[in-house]
């Protein structure tokens, strides 16, 4: 029995582009952050700053939120490499629709992000135990990571459809990654002492909404702001995915550098 085209493309994405070292680095980096940064900062950061929990307990939901960037980058890079190595054109000349290829990328992103969520939770077990998440909390975490992943994947894919140089693509991607991570509440909370300008930038960053919502989900205590955050993520994900669709519709096939 033949799998549907989208699933065949997902299998191909995982088989052809995600070698073990890449996977190890993508999941290993945030895992190491939890272990090393969490341990070290717990000794110097007061729990009053992190809402009464240890810094590691504060960091783990942040690293879970971080998975939406990891997933987005995987998808963006997959697309870029396919374009660079003419596989996009090769696939489009076969029995696939552009929408299926895009769907395959998004599904790859989601699978990667959600596996990443599981890995981060498991890495955190020795520090905070297995979080006792309610069904609603699990749903909230998954929905947040899924929407965030679609947002970042859409953004990077849209970027990949416009750029014709690997240098430009990877430079922008690195800058975006750095900017989004450090100007969010993944590593630190926004407090009354946070400079206003930085606080404003933090709240303009979708990763902040995701990290805050996931922290609330881990605490099984939702507020109205969490649903608003989910709504904002949904709007952003739709916009970024729309940009990716537009990019695909107008994608110029042919050699790039």
């Amino acid at each position: 029995m033949n799998l549907p085209p989208v699933l065949r493309l997902v299998v191909r994405n995982f088989s052809s582009n995600l070698d073990p070292i890449t996977v190890l680095i993508r999941f290993g980096q945030p895992a190491i952050t939890i272990v090393v940064l969490g341990t070290m900062f717990t000794t110097i950061v007061s729990s009053s700053v992190t809402g009464g929990s240890s810094y590691t307990a504060f960091l783990i939901p942040g690293m879970v939120a971080f998975q939406m960037i990891t997933g987005g980058i995987v998808s963006g890079n997959l697309f870029w490499l396919d374009r660079r190595w003419a596989m996009t054109e090769q696939i489009f000349s076969g029995p696939f629709l552009r929408s299926e290829y895009l769907g395959g990328l998004v599904l790859t992103t989601l699978l990667f992000s959600l596996v990443g969520v599981g890995v981060m939770i498991l890495v955190g077990v020795p520090f905070i135990g297995l979080p006792a998440l309610s069904v609603a909390s699990v749903g909230m975490v998954l929905a947040t990571v899924a929407l965030g992943s679609v947002f970042f994947a859409g953004l990077l894919i849209a970027l990949g459809t416009r750029l014709r140089s690997a240098n430009a693509y990877f430079s922008i991607q690195s800058f975006l990654q750095l900017f989004v991570i450090f100007l969010s509440t993944v590593y630190y909370p926004v407090t009354a002492r946070t400079p206003r300008v930085l606080a404003a930038i933090f709240y303009g960053n979708p990763l902040t909404y995701a990290a805050n919502t996931i922290r609330d989900a881990f605490a099984n205590s939702f507020a109205g702001s969490d649903f608003e955050a989910l709504g904002i993520l949904a709007v952003l994900a739709t916009a970024a995915f729309g940009a990716a669709i537009w990019g695909f519709r107008t994608l110029e096939l042919g050699p790039i550098q």
Binding site: N2, R8, L9, V11, R12, S15, S16, N17, D19, L81, W85, A86, M87, E89, Q90, I91, F92, S93, G94, P95, F96, L97, L253, G254, P255
Partner: protein, 349 residues
């Protein structure tokens, strides 16, 4: 609708990438089942654009194209699933050669066992055994090209488009691939083949379409193109006996009247008295007359040889003629393209 085994038909097909700028224009041609059609042309002639139009990667802006009975504008996946395409660009996945083959087959929905057997067949056929466990970027240019053709042959198809598949291949590999393609065509596979290597087009293709600046300037068999556009060829004659000076003058005059030029260069040592050479357009058409003339003068021919016309000579002749006739204007860059005489698709049948 397909008629008389025609699997591909274009009528006035065109693609404009900007207002008034055409990559391909007024392209009318057909392909029959089991036929190998060569697309020849200089760089930028429109060969790759034509392949992209016929494989639905680009949407035509003018004219019509029907492939396997389906309009290329609407055929989409259903049409593409019956085609094979070897792109001009190197298209690679980051897994070993062997895995690339089976993975590609999987993407095309080829059953696993069939894919494994076919991968072995392709590895043997394209001599990829030594590199089967290497990743494509570790291969030489020729190996990558062989791999790319092999990969496309992992699935079933009715028309195979090959965009310069033999670039970088050594003579042995090239010959092997061409022979395989010829065999597949005998089995009913139709092939569209672009190349810059005119010799291989001559060997392989049943018919050849010559594109120049986005237009079809000739479409015929290689032999017919050579005959028509091969230019002047040298004919060397050796009589069994000495040719008397008077007869020599007489023959020279008669040949001259038929458009031939005797090759007697002043200052050069004369040819032996029983030999004579001349150059003529359509030299082969003079041969019956020459035989008759020889017999009527009581002479016998010891040897008669006509210089072989190459497809390259014919190709250069066609391109040269087109440019000399003022049709070399790049239709993609100048509005003067609008003034080019319509129907100047040369010998389009």
């Amino acid at each position: 609708m397909m008629t008389d085994g025609v699997v591909l038909e274009t009528k006035d097909l065109g693609y404009s990438f900007a207002p008034g700028r055409f990559a391909v224009r007024h392209l009318s041609l057909t392909l029959r089942r089991g036929e190998i059609l060569g697309l020849l042309g200089r760089n930028g002639a429109g060969k790759t654009t034509t392949v992209r139009l016929l494989t639905t990667l680009l949407t035509p802006t003018e004219g019509t194209a029907s492939v396997l009975g389906q309009d290329v504008r609407t055929g989409g996946r259903a049409l593409r699933s019956r085609l094979g395409v070897v792109l001009q660009a190197e298209s690679l996945d980051f897994v070993t050669v062997e895995r690339n083959l089976t993975l590609y087959a999987f993407m095309w929905g080829v059953p696993r066992e069939v894919a494994k057997a076919r991968a072995e067949e392709m590895i043997a056929l394209f001599e990829l055994g030594a590199v089967r466990h290497r990743k494509p970027w570790a291969l030489s240019g020729g190996e990558r090209r062989r791999f790319q053709v092999a990969r496309e042959l992992m699935h079933e198809m009715e028309i195979l488009f090959l965009d310069e598949p033999t670039v970088g291949l050594d003579a042995v590999a090239r010959r092997r691939i061409l022979r395989y393609l010829r065999d597949r065509a005998r089995g009913g596979l139709s092939i569209v083949f672009t190349t810059h290597i005119l010799h291989e087009a001559d060997q392989l293709c049943d018919r050849i379409a010559v594109l120049h600046l986005g237009r079809l300037i000739a479409l015929d068999t290689a032999e017919a193109l050579k005959r028509r556009h091969g230019g002047a060829r040298e004919v060397a004659i050796a009589f069994e006996s000495v040719l008397a000076p008077a007869l020599r003058v007489d023959l020279g005059r008669e040949l001259s009247e038929r458009g031939a030029t005797l090759l007697e260069i002043p200052g050069e040592p004369p040819l032996p008295p029983n030999r004579l050479s001349f150059r003529a357009e359509r030299a082969e058409e003079l041969l019956p007359w020459l035989t008759q003339w020889t017999q009527s003068h009581g002479l016998s021919l010891e040897r008669l040889s006509v210089e072989e016309t190459t497809l390259e000579g014919a190709f250069l002749g066609m391109i040269g003629d087109t440019e000399e006739n003022g049709e070399g204007t790049d239709s993609r860059e100048s509005p003067s393209a609008e003034r080019l005489p319509p129907g100047r698709e040369g010998e389009v049948p």
